[in-house]
Amino acid sequence: MKAFLLSFFLIVSALSFVNTVTAKDIIGGLTLKENFELAEQYPMPSPWLLSAQCSACHGTMGTEFDDIIPPLAGMDKQEFIDKMQEYKTKDANQFIVMGIITQPITDKEIEAMADFFAKLKPVSRSLGKVPYDVVVPDWANMNSGAK
């Protein structure tokens, strides 16, 4: 069942979707325009903080591959950017949560995250327990802060 779901996920995520947000979706708070204006107004959050937002689903700093949700650590920079941009621009059918998470994230932020994950030790994309180094002292240095 899990193997089926995984391949299903991979197939579906490889497809391009028509960019349509249906009328029944509920979108609220800031508009995307206001969101991007706010992002411009203040220094970009640190690459560490941006990337750490992924931990709850993708494992600590993107190092987990449990079943369906893939690891991010060690992903090629361009591959990460392409995937995120694909979600942001083409996956508006919001099949998996990535299509909606990426909407308010700026291109600059996506690139900073891509850079961050590309520098981490890669995690095997095969299923099973993934061992990882828990303390990576370099993270503190990669965290260049807002300025």
Partner: protein, 440 residues
């Protein structure tokens, strides 16, 4: 009250800080239970509460900084993860599946975990007193006590009754099992009353997820039973998804519906428990008898935060740049106790607030400018074993003294069964990974 001067927020050099810490450094050596030996002049970060917020703070601070001394205060030796705990009610999983320990924090992350209750903060001396008498000097204090359940806001209700025949089951544990057993042994055709509170409270969709899971359980074992949701509010998050699933699965909206939802404006708000007659009384004076009564009381900041003057009224005000308390210096508040609107109270958010705090503390230790905060909250929830859903919200910094601003997407109900199941699998995957992310 020691009102915070926001202008004082400037990074301090490591040298300045170490100098300042020198005076109290002698104390740190006395507490070393962790196997790693820390410098006597190492800054001491104390964390109150070993739930998701506190444990995430301990682990992620260590990921950023190998040299600080970290102490976590938590009375229990294990923690039952709240996300997923509704699945214990129909017996899809057990409480044991949700149990995590502090072993990894102790051994892998060199966190000194003290199993005691935090009691009183001395803000002038920067000391925390524990119930058994230990006094800890802190450089920075992170407070993550979870919410307090206001049982007494419902007349006739109390913690004793919740621990007895009227389980709230809103912290995973013994009450969760009582609720499960009561539903299992309920007479055929009986009524389960669920009374969700007004906003804000932990995990907004949880009472409705619970109703869904209980309905699935009853459909199999007690098909003529009813679930009556008496709500203290007029709307709830993800209601389009739940309504869709309930219609499809439990005949919602028909005379034969297993689930009935009564909003506040139609007399849903429960104000009183009549324990003797096994009934609840709503604001309009109507009495509803229930074979199982599950009142989820309103919440406020954790008792520790209230006792220590960190809350103004119901919740704790913070500076959203770094979640430092607006009421006392060198103290940060995270998790459900924060006056964080528009952020909902979720474990996901508590963990991301923890990441902001520990980065801010680490940046300050290194004399760096603080990073702009940024938070993502995703909810990958279930309505049943065959139906998952998702929502996503981002929270951006909007300037000094302002609340974070949200942008949310709640996709409409998914009609494709294959997608429904994949989303459900994603929700289960998330639960496993999230437990590991915080506690391993």
């Amino acid at each position: 009250m020691n009102k915070k001067d926001l202008n004082k927020k400037k990074g301090m050099s490591r040298r300045q800080m170490l100098k300042m810490l020198g005076a109290t450094a002698a104390t740190y050596g006395l507490l070393g239970a962790s196997s790693k030996v820390f410098s006597k002049s190492a800054p001491h970060i104390v964390i109150v509460g070993g739930g998701i917020g506190g444990a995430a703070a301990a682990k992620y601070l260590r990921l950023l900084n190998a040299d600080v001394k970290i102490t976590l205060i938590e009375p229990n030796s294990q923690y039952i993860f709240c996300p997923g705990s509704n699945e214990v009610i129909p017996g899809w999983i057990t409480l044991e599946d949700l149990m995590v320990t502090y072993t990894a924090l102790k051994t892998r992350y060199h966190v000194n975990v003290i199993h005691d209750k935090a009691s009183i903060i001395d803000y002038d001396k920067k000391q925390l007193r524990l119930e058994k008498g230990t006094v800890l000097n802190y450089h920075k204090l992170i407070v993550s006590p979870g919410p307090m359940h206001g049982y007494h806001a419902i007349e006739g209700f109390s913690k004793a009754l919740a621990d007895g025949d009227f389980p709230s089951a809103y912290n995973a544990g013994k009450q969760t099992m009582t609720l499960r057993n009561q539903i299992l042994s309920m007479k055929q055709g009986g009524t389960v009353i669920i009374a969700p509170p007004e906003n804000d409270y932990r995990c907004p969709p949880a009472p409705y997820e619970r109703a869904s899971f209980i309905a699935a359980m009853l459909k199999e074992k007690n098909p003529t039973a009813k679930i009556l949701i008496l709500d203290a509010k007029d709307s709830f998050v993800l209601s389009d998804n739940y309504n869709f699933y309930w219609k499809k699965t439990f005949g919602y909206g028909t005379d034969n519906s297993m689930i009935e939802w009564v909003p506040k404006k139609k007399g849903g708000k429960v104000v009183k428990l009549d324990a003797t007659h096994h009934a609840v009384i709503t604001a309009d004076g109507q009495s509803h008898k229930g074979d199982v009564i599950n009142i989820i009381p309103p919440e406020a900041a954790g008792l520790f935060a209230l006792k220590n003057d960190l809350a103004d009224t119901q919740w704790c005000p913070v500076d959203f740049l770094d979640f430092s308390s607006m009421r006392h210096d060198d103290v940060y508040v995270i998790g459900d106790s924060v006056d964080g609107a528009p952020m909902p109270k979720t474990g996901y958010i508590a963990s991301n607030q923890a990441r902001i705090v520990v980065q801010a503390i680490n940046d300050e230790l290194h004399g760096k400018e603080l990073s702009t905060p940024f938070i993502i909250n995703d909810c990958v929830a279930m309505a049943g074993h065959d139906y998952g859903m998702a929502l996503s919200t981002t929270f951006r910094y909007a300037g000094k003294g302002k609340r974070l601003k949200d942008l949310y997407y709640i996709p409409e109900a998914e009609t494709n069964p294959a997608k429904q199941i994949v989303r459900q699998q994603v929700a289960e995957n998330w639960q496993r990974t999230f437990r590991k992310d915080i506690f391993e």
